[in-house]
Symmetry: C2
Subunit: 761 residues, 2 copies
C-alpha cells in the first residue's frame, strides 16, 4: 500500500511539475530521489526558501558570544545578512580601524586600558509600550562588564559604556517597557570599589552583586551615564532579568544562582564551585521596584561609588523596593508573560518550570507577609505564597518565550535537548520536539514583548556535533527553525553559526525596520553629526604644519583625491575621506599599505584614519571595495620622505600619445555615448519613476555623466594646444565617467526588465 502511494505521488509530481520548467532537466521527483528528500523535506524547503530579491518576514538579532559581535539574520530563510562589530574590532566595517569607531570603542576601555573583544550575551530591541519599535538594539559584554547601543537606522554601534562597579555582567541587556532604562546585572560577585582587593575569606562581607539601570536618552540615541544608577545586591550570582509590563510595569525581576555564596577551590581540597553552587534546592528571584528606586536616587539617597550612584541594600530594604522569593535551583531565565501578570522561572537542575503571580507577590508585600529575611536583611516572600503553578517539563529547563496564542509558552530543555510547548494559564504540557543538540535559549517572534507574533521559533543549540559538514574540532552552533503555526511543532531548518557562540537572540517583524542606504554627505556616522573633516568635490586639500599632515579628500568611482600624499618621516598623518557617491551600495574602502588602518566609507559618510608615518619609503593606498570596473586603478601613493629631502628637478615621465590616439579616444567616447543613449531611451520609455531603486540609479548615473563636462573642457583645451598627452588622458577620463554611467544604466535596465516595468505609450 505504501509503495503504491509513493508511486502515485511520483506520477502526480511529475505531472504537476511538467508545466513551465522547460530548461530543468530534472523534475521535482528526480531531485527528491537524487538528494534523498522526503515530502516533509520539500514542504520545509518551500517554507524557508526565499527566491532572489524576495524578503524575509522577520529579522533576528543574535548575540555573537565570544566573537563580541551582533549577528543579523532573516527568518524564515535563515540567511545571515550581517555581522555588526560591537565589542571587537572588525576591519571590513572599518570598526576599530578608523578614528570615528575607535572613539566608540574607547568608551568601553576599563581601568584606562584598551579592551579588544567582548563576550556578548543578550540583545534587546528598544520598546514602546512594551512592543518592539525597531529603533535601537542594546547588548552586554559579560567578560568586561559593558553595554553597547546600536542604532537600527544604519546598523552601527554608537556607544559603549563600561559598568563602573561590576567585574562581570551576564545579565544584560533588558529594557523597561518604554526603554526608559536598560537593565544590567553583575554575575560573579566582587568588591564594588574599583581595583579593590579583599580576600575570599571576606566573601560574604565584602563581595557584592548588583543591578544597574542605565538611563536611555531616546532623542540622543545614547545612554545618559550621569542619570544612570545601580542597586547593591547580595553576592548571589545575579543572572538574567526582565522588566514588568502592563500591570507589573515599574517592577523588574532578576534571578540568581549560587545563593549558597559558595567559594570553590578544588586545588585546595575544596569541592569545586559547581558542587557548592548547586547544593541547595532553591536560589533567589530578586523583585525590584525600579520606578521607586529612580525617585530615591532623585532624592539623593544613593551613595557614590566610583563616581556612580548606588542605592545600598540597607536603603533599599528600608524603603521597601527590594524583595526575594525562592526559585528552583540554578535558574537561567526569568520571563514576564505578555500580559505582565506572571513571571516564569526555570531552574536548570529542576524538572519544573515555575509560574509566579505578580498579583500574589504584590499582595504578600502589601500584607507584609514574609517567611524570613536573607543574611543581608532583605525580606523573603514565601514561594508557595506567590506561585500560580508549577509544571513538570523535563530535564534542564532553561528559558521561556511566548506565542501569539493566549497562554502558550515555549521552554527550552537543555539536558533533554527538547523544546516544550505548554500552557502557563492551566499548567498543561501541549507538545515536545527534539532539537540538535543541547539547546540554551530559544526565541519566538517578538516573543518577549507585549504582543508576540507567533509563527516561528528558533532553538539556539549549543552543540551541533554531527549536523553539518565537518570543519575541525571547533564546531559551529546550530540554530534550528521550528514552525509553531500549528498544534504540533515542526522542524524546518538547521542554520550553522559560522562565527561566535550566540546566547540569546531577538526577532522583530521586518517591516518595522527602516534603515537608510546613504548618509547626508559629510556625516560622522558614529556621532550622527557633520564631520569636521568633510569636503565637497573640488575642495580637497592637504594641510601640513608642526609635523602634522591633514588630508581632506574625497572618493568617487574610480579615484581618490588626492592621489599623491607627501609627508616627512615622523609626521602624524590624518586622512579624512568623504564618499561622494549617492548610489545605494556604492561603498568605498581605504587603506595605506602596512600602516594598519582601514575605513569602510558608505555613500555620504566621512571617515578618517590616523597614523604616524614613522617608516621612510613608498606606501601605496587604494580603495578596498570592488566598486567599479577600474577599482584596482583607484589608487594613490603615500610618500614618506627622509627628513630634509630636496625635491628632484626631474619631471614626471610623459606618455607619448599622438593626435591619432586622441581621435581614437574621441571615437570610443562617441560609441559609448550611443550605448548610454540607447539605455536611457529604454529606461525613459518605461514607468521607471514607479521604482524608487531605479530612480536612485538614474540619479547616480546622471551624477557620473555630469562630471564629464569638466574633463571634456580639459581635453578640448589641451587639444587646442596640441598637448596630445593631456588631451588623450582627459578624454580617457570622460570615457571612465561614461563607463560608470553605462554600468549603472545597464543595472537599472535589468532591474526594470525583471520587475515588470511597463512601457509608457
Amino acid at each position: 500500500m505504501k509503495s503504491l502511494a509513493v508511486k502515485a505521488t511520483a506520477v502526480l509530481l511529475a505531472a504537476a511539475f511538467g508545466v513551465g520548467t522547460a530548461y530543468a532537466a530534472e523534475s521535482l521527483q528526480d531531485v527528491m530521489k537524487r538528494r534523498g528528500l522526503n515530502q516533509q523535506d520539500v514542504l520545509s524547503a518551500a517554507k524557508t526558501y526565499t527566491p532572489s530579491g524576495k524578503r524575509d518576514e522577520f529579522m533576528a538579532f543574535s548575540s555573537g558570544g565570544q566573537s563580541g559581535q551582533v549577528i543579523v539574520y532573516g527568518i524564515p530563510s535563515m540567511r545571515i545578512i550581517k555581522y555588526i562589530g560591537v565589542f571587537t574590532p572588525e576591519p571590513w566595517q572599518g570598526y576599530g580601524y578608523d578614528e570615528e569607531s575607535k572613539a566608540v570603542l574607547k568608551g568601553g576601555w576599563i581601568d584606562g586600558k584598551e579592551i579588544t573583544w567582548g563576550d556578548s550575551h543578550h540583545p534587546a530591541i528598544s520598546e514602546t509600550n512594551g512592543q518592539y519599535d525597531g529603533q535601537f538594539l542594546f547588548i552586554n559584554d559579560k567578560a568586561n562588564p559593558r553595554i553597547a547601543v546600536l542604532d537600527l537606522r544604519d546598523f552601527e554601534t554608537k556607544q559603549i559604556v563600561a559598568n563602573p562597579i561590576f567585574k562581570s555582567d551576564h545579565g544584560g541587556a533588558f529594557v523597561t517597557p518604554n526603554t526608559e532604562y536598560v537593565i544590567e546585572t553583575a554575575q560573579y560577585a566582587a568588591p564594588l570599589e574599583a581595583k579593590k582587593f579583599y580576600p575570599l575569606e571576606e566573601f560574604n562581607e565584602k563581595y557584592r552583586g548588583g543591578i544597574t539601570f542605565w538611563k536611555f536618552d531616546r532623542t540622543a540615541g545614547r545612554i545618559d551615564v550621569p542619570k544612570s544608577f545601580s542597586l547593591e545586591l547580595p553576592p548571589y550570582s545575579q543572572d538574567l532579568s526582565d522588566a514588568g509590563k502592563g500591570p507589573s510595569d515599574g517592577w523588574s525581576f532578576t534571578n540568581s544562582f549560587c545563593s549558597e555564596r559558595y567559594v570553590g577551590g578544588i586545588e585546595r581540597g575544596r569541592p569545586p564551585f559547581e558542587a557548592g553552587c548547586s547544593a541547595k534546592d532553591t536560589d533567589y528571584l530578586h523583585v525590584i521596584n525600579w520606578k521607586k528606586a529612580v525617585e530615591l536616587v532623585a532624592q539623593g539617597k544613593a551613595k557614590k561609588i566610583n563616581g556612580h550612584d548606588v542605592l545600598m541594600m540597607d536603603t533599599a530594604v528600608k524603603e521597601g523596593i527590594l524583595f526575594l522569593i525562592p526559585e528552583p535551583k540554578s535558574p537561567h531565565g526569568v520571563d514576564v508573560t505578555p500580559d505582565g501578570k506572571f513571571i516564569i522561572v526555570a531552574g536548570k537542575l529542576d524538572t519544573h518550570v515555575s509560574v509566579y503571580s505578580f498579583d500574589k507577590i504584590m499582595a504578600a508585600i502589601k500584607a507584609g507577609k514574609f517567611e524570613s529575611k536573607d543574611p543581608y536583611g532583605i525580606p523573603v516572600i514565601g514561594m508557595r505564597d506567590t506561585l500560580h503553578t508549577q509544571v513538570e517539563l523535563g530535564l534542564g529547563p532553561l528559558h521561556t518565550q511566548f506565542d501569539s496564542k493566549k497562554c502558550v509558552a515555549y521552554t527550552s530543555l537543555y539536558v533533554d535537548s527538547q523544546v516544550a510547548k505548554w500552557n502557563f494559564c492551566d499548567g498543561k504540557v501541549l507538545d515536545k520536539i527534539s532539537v540538535h543538540y543541547n539547546i540554551g535559549h530559544l526565541m519566538t517572534m517578538e516573543g518577549d514583548a507585549a504582543d508576540p507574533k507567533g509563527r516561528y521559533l528558533v532553538a539556539l543549540n549549543k552543540l551541533s556535533i554531527d549536523r553539518f559538514n565537518p570543519v575541525g574540532p571547533l564546531h559551529p552552533q546550530n540554530h534550528q527553525l521550528i514552525d509553531i503555526s500549528n498544534d504540533k511543532m515542526q522542524l524546518l531548518y538547521d542554520m550553522p553559526l559560522p562565527l561566535g557562540e550566540p546566547h540569546y537572540a531577538v526577532a522583530i517583524e521586518a517591516s518595522k525596520l527602516k534603515p537608510g542606504v546613504r548618509y547626508k554627505v559629510g556625516t560622522n556616522s558614529r556621532t550622527d553629526k557633520p564631520h569636521p573633516g568633510a569636503v565637497r568635490a573640488g575642495e580637497e586639500k592637504i594641510e601640513s604644519k608642526n609635523g602634522k599632515v591633514t588630508v581632506y579628500g574625497t572618493l568617487i568611482r574610480s579615484h581618490i583625491t588626492p592621489e599623491i600624499i607627501e609627508v616627512e618621516v615622523g609626521d602624524e598623518v590624518t586622512i579624512n575621506l568623504t564618499n561622494l557617491e549617492r548610489a545605494q551600495d556604492e561603498t568605498h574602502g581605504f587603506t595605506v599599505s602596512t600602516y594598519n588602518v582601514h575605513a569602510s566609507i558608505e555613500p555620504g559618510k566621512t571617515s578618517s584614519v590616523k597614523f604616524k608615518a614613522d617608516k621612510e619609503g613608498v606606501y601605496p593606498y587604494y580603495c578596498t571595495e570592488f566598486c567599479s570596473a577600474l577599482h584596482l586603478e583607484m589608487q594613490g601613493y603615500l610618500l614618506v620622505k627622509p627628513k630634509g629631502w630636496k625635491a628632484t628637478t626631474k619631471e614626471m615621465a610623459k606618455a607619448a600619445y599622438t593626435e591619432k590616439d586622441y581621435q581614437a579616444t574621441l571615437k570610443k567616447i562617441a560609441d559609448t555615448q550611443a550605448v548610454i543613449d540607447s539605455v536611457v531611451g529604454f529606461i525613459t520609455s518605461t514607468n521607471y519613476k514607479d521604482f524608487p531603486d531605479v530612480v536612485n540609479m538614474v540619479e547616480d548615473a546622471t551624477d557620473q555623466l555630469n562630471k564629464t563636462a569638466d574633463a571634456k573642457a580639459k581635453h578640448e583645451a589641451a587639444a587646442a594646444k596640441k598637448d596630445w598627452e593631456q588631451a588623450n588622458l582627459w578624454a580617457e577620463q570622460v570615457f571612465q565617467y561614461q563607463v560608470k554611467a553605462a554600468d549603472i544604466g545597464l543595472r537599472a535596465k535589468t532591474y526594470l526588465e525583471q520587475n515588470g516595468a511597463k512601457k509608457l505609450k
Copy 2:
C-alpha cells in the same frame, strides 16, 4: 488555458502531498501561494535545501576581503559553516587572544610592527598532480603583502609570512601542480628595498613589480622561507597568476594593468590613475619558466634584497625565463585550461576573452620570434602569434573557470552583470545568465584544477543592492548559486555574505576533506606539537618565582582547576589550560575579567593566555562556552593582591549542611543513577557500536562517570567524620558528574533513535 493548468497543478499537488504530512496544516500548494513561489522556485528549493544532519556535496573556501578571514560554506545548501581567523584577530577562536595564535600573527608583522587585519583576496587549495587534495589552504593579504597557510585537518591558520620586497600583493595565492610553490605577485609598484624612498619622478627607474615563489614544505605543513625566491619585474601592476599544468607544467602566467606606468595626481591637474592606467589598448601577460628559475637560484644567480633571493630582470632575460605577450587592457583573470594547453585572459575594458595557445607561445620562444622588447629589455611575443581564438562575450569580462565538460568555460561579465558560458575550443558562446549585481570572480567546482567537477557555479557578486532585507548603508555581498548541469544555466539561490567582501573562492568535493574532531591531549594546535604547558588531571599546579606566575591547569565539565589563583600586583601571569574532554564539540573557552585575553580550547588542546596583573583587585575568570548545564558555575577568581599583603587568619565561610542534607543528596544520586542505568540499558540493547559518534559519546559518558569514584570516597570519608558540609558537597560533586554522563547518554539515545539503530536480539 493557463489558469486551467494552474488549477490542475493545485489539485495534483494537494493530492501528492496529502500523504504523510498529518501535522502540516498547509499543503505545498498553500505554502507556494502564501509565499509567492512558482514551480521553478520549489525546484530550486529542493535542489538546495539540506535537511538536518545531511551533508553538502562541496565545500567552498572564500576569501573574506577586508575582514581578513576565510569563509567556509557548503554547496548546494549555501550555509556558511565557519569563518576562520587568518590575518585579523578573532576572539571566538581565541585567535590573537591566546599566546599560541599570537605567535602565528607575529609571523606577519611588517617592519617590526603589529598588523591586526588583512585584505585577503585569493585562496588556493593544495594540489597533487594538478588536482585538489584538500590538505592545505593558502591565502594572501593585499594591503600588507603576506601569505597565510591553513591546515584543513583542523581548519586553523598555522603560518603567516610577510613578503620581504613588496608593498602590496593582490595576486596570490596560486599553487603549482604539486604545491611545490605558492605564487604571489606585487600589485602597486614600489622600491624593492625595505623602507627606501624614491620620488615618483623616478617611477620608471626605481619602482618595481615582482613575483614571489614561496617554497612549500608539505611534510612540515609550512612555507620554507629560506628556500623561497622572487623575480624582479617591471613596474606594471602585476595582477593574478596561474601555474601551467600537464604540457605547460613548469611555467606560470601573470597578467598586469597600468603597463602605461602612468602616475596620477588629480590634485595637481594630472588626470587620475584610472584615466592614464587604461589609456592603451593592451597590457602585458608575463610568461615565466619557474622551474628554470629554481635552478638559477640554486646556481647562485639571485641577488639578495632584504636578505631574500631575487632574480633580477637582466638575469631573467639573459637566461630566457621571462617573456611578455600583449593582452586586452586592464585584465583581471588569467586562467590555464584543465588540459594545460590554453591560457585564457579577459580584459575588463574589452568585450573579448582571449585564448592563448601554450604550444604557439613555446613555438615563438623556440623560434626567437619576438615583435619587440619592452623598456626593460624583456622580449615581447606578438599577440597574433600566440592567440588560439578571441571570443566576444560582453561588457567587462573578468574571470574564467571551467566545467567538467570538455572545452566548456564560464566567464564573469562585470558591467553586463552576467555569466557567459562558452566553448574555448571552437570559440562559441553557449549561454548567458543575469546575476545580481556586478559579478567579480566566479567559481565552479574544482574549476581551476586539472579535473573540474561541473554541477554548480557560484557568481561572486560585488553588489547586492535590493536582494536582501535592508541592513543599513553597508550591504552584504551576494553569492549566487547557479545550476550548470544542463545546457541552460539556472539560478538556484542568493546567499548574502554577512561579513567581509570576498574576492575569490575555491570549492572542493566535500568527501576529500577529513578534518579531525579532537587533538591528542596536550597539543599546541598552532605548532602541531606537544605543548610544554600541558598537564594531565591531578597534575595541576601553580608556580611562582621572580614576579612570574605560571599556572598549569585543566578544564572539564564543569570546573576549571585551579579555581583560585593568587598573585601580587605587577606579576606576569601565564595560564596554561588543557581541555581534558574527549567528546566531539565539547569546547571550553577561558577568559579573565577585563584582562583582555581569551582562549578557545577544543578537546585535547592546550592553550595559554598571558598578561601583566597590573590592577589590584578581584577578577573572576570563567568558561566562555556554554559547555554543560552548570556552565555558569565553571568559574574561578584571580586575586591580585597589593604588594606585601598579609594573609588573613579568617577561615572561608562554612555552609551549614546537616546529615539530612547529605542523605537527601545520596537519594538524588541513587535516583539519577537509575536514569543513567536505564539509558545505558537502552544503548547497550542496540547496535550502537555501528555508530562511531555514539561510541565516542559512550566513551565520554564513561569518562565522566569514572570520576565519581574519587568524589564518592571523599564524601564517605567526610561522612564517617560527621563533617556534613564536606560530605554533602562531595556528594553533590558525584551528582554533577552524573548529570554530565546522563546528558551525554540522552544525546546518544536520541541519536540512535533518530538514525535507525537496531535492537540486538
